[in-house]
Assembly symmetry: C2
Homo-oligomer: 175 residues x 2
């Protein structure tokens, strides 16, 4: 476990001043370029939840798709995409949340979760937690049972866990 | 092989009048909800390319991520995301292409492909082929060797193959 954490840490690329000046962005594309690391990350989370009866993995557009799909396949679970407004073709429910400037909205299909299904939420990054908290609200609206939110990277100094009070947060790499 | 084609066909959901009136949208979310189908699709393409020395799988934001990542992992290849403008943090190259209204642009990291690397392009859907053709141009710009473009669904009546002349097009399900 330590091994995969250290290997991911060593592979993430720091990009200064993205998306704006003063921010040091954690670029995960070198991780995507390594099938060994992708398998290591998938196995790490799959091992932690394989006995928890996960019914579905919910991944947020679009980088949550990158890690959520292989985890769902490894757990023999459904994958459900949470998407930006107007992207999902069937009937949806949505949740609006605040950003630094303006608001954002996340949607899932209304039939994506059945009552009582056990759900893992997966994203690449936990920053301020707004997107993850909105996703958890969608799980609640459809009466799913939320097991945990899993992140490949957590920026601890942004206190995203405060936005996810009462929810199990499971991050691979924490800065 | 026929089996996975028929099972995917039977699982795709037709949503009328999306994204606008008169269009019958092929909704793949029920396919994502089936880990057996996701593994079947991944194995289908992995078997076709396992002896072709694939170095990397290039998937287009955001639905190309859903099928490209597990295929890359199955082929022990790198996954490279092609993204909308301003999303990738490091230095990029881009290609602009025309849509029905206005233009779109797709970008990849400038170090995403090394000269001569063997590339599979993967997306969920081949419609008019604009996005796929732009992605192929990016592979060409970085001097990658394009093996084929793989799609889970092809809308044959939109003649997307015309936009991909000289390129091998490999679709699982064709309407």
């Amino acid at each position: 476990m330590t091994d995969i954490i250290e290997r991911v840490k060593a592979t993430i690329r720091d990009v200064p001043d993205f998306p704006k000046e003063g921010i040091l962005f954690k670029d995960i594309t070198p991780v995507l370029a390594s099938p060994a690391l992708m398998k290591g990350i998938t196995n790490h989370f799959a091992n932690r939840y394989k006995d928890k009866g996960v019914d579905l993995v919910l991944g947020m557009e679009s980088r949550g798709f990158l890690f959520g799909v292989p985890l769902a396949m490894a757990l023999n679970a459904s994958f459900v995409p949470a998407r930006k407004p107007g992207k999902l073709p069937y009937h949806t429910i949505g949740y609006e949340y605040s950003l630094e400037y303006g608001t954002n909205r996340l949607e899932i299909h209304i039939d994506a979760i059945e009552q009582g299904q056990r759900v893992l939420v997966v994203d690449d990054l936990l920053a301020t937690g707004g997107t993850a908290a909105a996703t958890c609200k969608l799980v609640e609206q459809l009466h799913g049972e939320l097991l945990a939110c899993c992140f490949v990277v957590e920026l601890g100094f942004l206190s995203g866990r405060d936005a996810l009070k009462g929810i199990q947060v499971d991050s691979l790499v924490v800065y």
